[in-house]
Amino acid sequence: MYIESVNLSKKYGDFYALRNLNLKIEGSKCVGYLGPNGAGKTTTLKLFTNLLRPTTGEAIINGYSVKKEIKKALKHVGALIESPEFYPYLTPMELLSMACDIRGASKKDIKNALKKVRLYEWRENKVGKFSKGMKQRLALAIALATNPEILILDEPTTGMDPQGMMEIREIIRDLKKEGILIFMSSHLLPEVTYICDEVAMINRGKLILYDSIENVSRKFSTHAVVVEFLSPVEKVEEIEEIKGVRAVNLISPYKLRLSFSGGAETQYYILKELLEKGYRVVSYHSESLALEKAYIKLIGGDNLG
């Protein structure tokens, strides 16, 4: 299973919403699709789900062009694009049945899908009374009900409360274990770091990075940690003398920024030394997400979304 864009472009007048996107995502994994507002993320996902037609190029799913062979291309695809609305007089059970009927899929997993997104109790209620977050959950349930091989998700946690966001993230992480290919746009960097295996970054309609989260972390690691202590630090010099430490910046009496040379081994060694010297460390973490660093470095000059 794979999705591929070949020279995929979408133009509105003189404006390119997407320009010559070449990207192939294959196998069971979760790929985060990042970029500022208006970068072309939703345009890409709409081109893959037949909501838009490409100006040039092809959106291909499992070898089939979405434009030319929509039924074959979208056969194994579940999608959640933007914040969909539903026929207000139908119930979740009916809407999921409708999605299964359209695809000729078994309805045996409808109840499970509703349970998964915590809408089972609402299964016989009319959707018109649902909140935005509930509709978002319902959209995810519909995408899951037909047991798709590929999931295309456009900012799936939009409009949800923090608990809802957490639950959706856990659902997506669980789905990865089921061997699904997930292509997910988001503007929440920690979300992508938490859920995804790979990341694609786009800006002004152009792909600027596609790599694994691991590689991005390695490349854009800051070699700095922020350390918080239970009591104020009195001897900063003592910390400066620890092997590997290059500089110490005092953020507050309880908080330091340590720059170091070396990799994860050095980072671990510094923490060990701090504890051995009797410092009561309450928090020890990288200064910022590597993904955030990459994002700011690659896109930072533009308006951040």
């Binding site: 909501l51 039924k71 809407l95 359209i102 519909i142």
Partner: protein, 268 residues
């Protein structure tokens, strides 16, 4: 997962669209309106029309004169927002990313709208025929021709309504503009035709005249000119074949354009 045919998918869409008409009570509202109109008409007919001096066809034609209005109303009720709503209300984000061709969606919805409208029209016809039978103790065969023509008229009006619906994004605008076109524009065109003497062969409401004309014996003349007082008025009565051709033409052309639009229209 089975490969479901596009025709089977069309029937699936029709099924859920019809369910939506039931759940939204849309069909019951129009049925209630139809019953209210039928009861009012029955009372008026009993009190003010003496059936002794009318043939059964003349008697039922008083019922049929209202039918064109009901057909347009049913089309607006069931088709006015059928496609526009998918774009305007964003339900298209749920429906369009499925492995389904857009024409299956359009024709599935059309089928449900036609069926729902047909139920309403059949109710009206049932009351009209029943009341006529009570009054005249006979129903002429022309009534069933008229009924068949009303079904054809519904087909063409609904197709044109779907064409307008596929153009617009906002459901309310789609319904309002379509209503204005049916109730004002086509009537103005027909009035202008009377004064200018140009036959309105391009008017769907002109073609709809066959539903009533077919009940008249003899069939009214194609063109009648009335003059006097410096004004010449030309009365056009659409011939049966021409009426059928215009209705079929409207159906085929509107259906083709609507199918083309929905196939290529994007969900921006």
């Amino acid at each position: 997962m089975d490969d479901k045919s596009s025709i089977a998918q069309m029937f699936t869409i029709a099924k859920y669209q019809f369910l939506n008409y039931i759940r939204s009570k849309r069909i019951f509202i129009l049925l209630a309106i139809t019953v209210a109109i039928s009861v009012t008409y029955s009372i008026v007919m009993w009190k003010h029309v003496n059936p002794e001096y009318l043939t059964s066809n003349d008697y039922i034609s008083r019922w049929v004169s209202f039918l064109s209005f009901l057909i347009v109303l049913a089309s607006l009720f069931f088709g006015g927002d059928a496609i526009a709503g998918e774009y305007g209300k964003k339900t298209g984000y749920f429906l369009f990313p499925n492995p389904i061709k857009r024409w299956s969606i359009l024709w599935g919805k059309f089928l449900a709208s036609y069926l729902a409208s047909l139920i309403v029209i059949l109710l009206y016809w049932s009351v009209a025929i029943g009341e006529t039978y009570i009054a005249k103790k006979e129903i002429a065969v022309e009534v069933f021709y008229s009924m068949g023509l009303s079904f054809l008229y519904l087909l063409s009006v609904l197709a044109l309504t779907y064409l307008f619906s596929s153009f617009f994004k906002n459901s309310a605008i789609s319904i309002t503009i379509t209503a204005i076109i049916y109730f004002f524009v086509f009537n103005i065109v027909n009035s202008i035709a009377m004064l200018t003497g140009v036959e309105p062969w391009f008017s769907i409401t002109y073609a709809g005249g066959v539903i009533e004309n077919v009940l008249k014996d003899p069939y009214p003349p194609h063109i009648q000119t009335i003059g006097g007082g410096g004004i010449k008025i030309t009365m056009f009565n659409v011939p049966l074949e021409m009426g059928i051709e215009i209705m079929l033409g409207y159906f085929i052309i509107s259906a083709l354009i609507a199918t083309f639009i929905i196939t290529y229209r994007e969900m921006k």
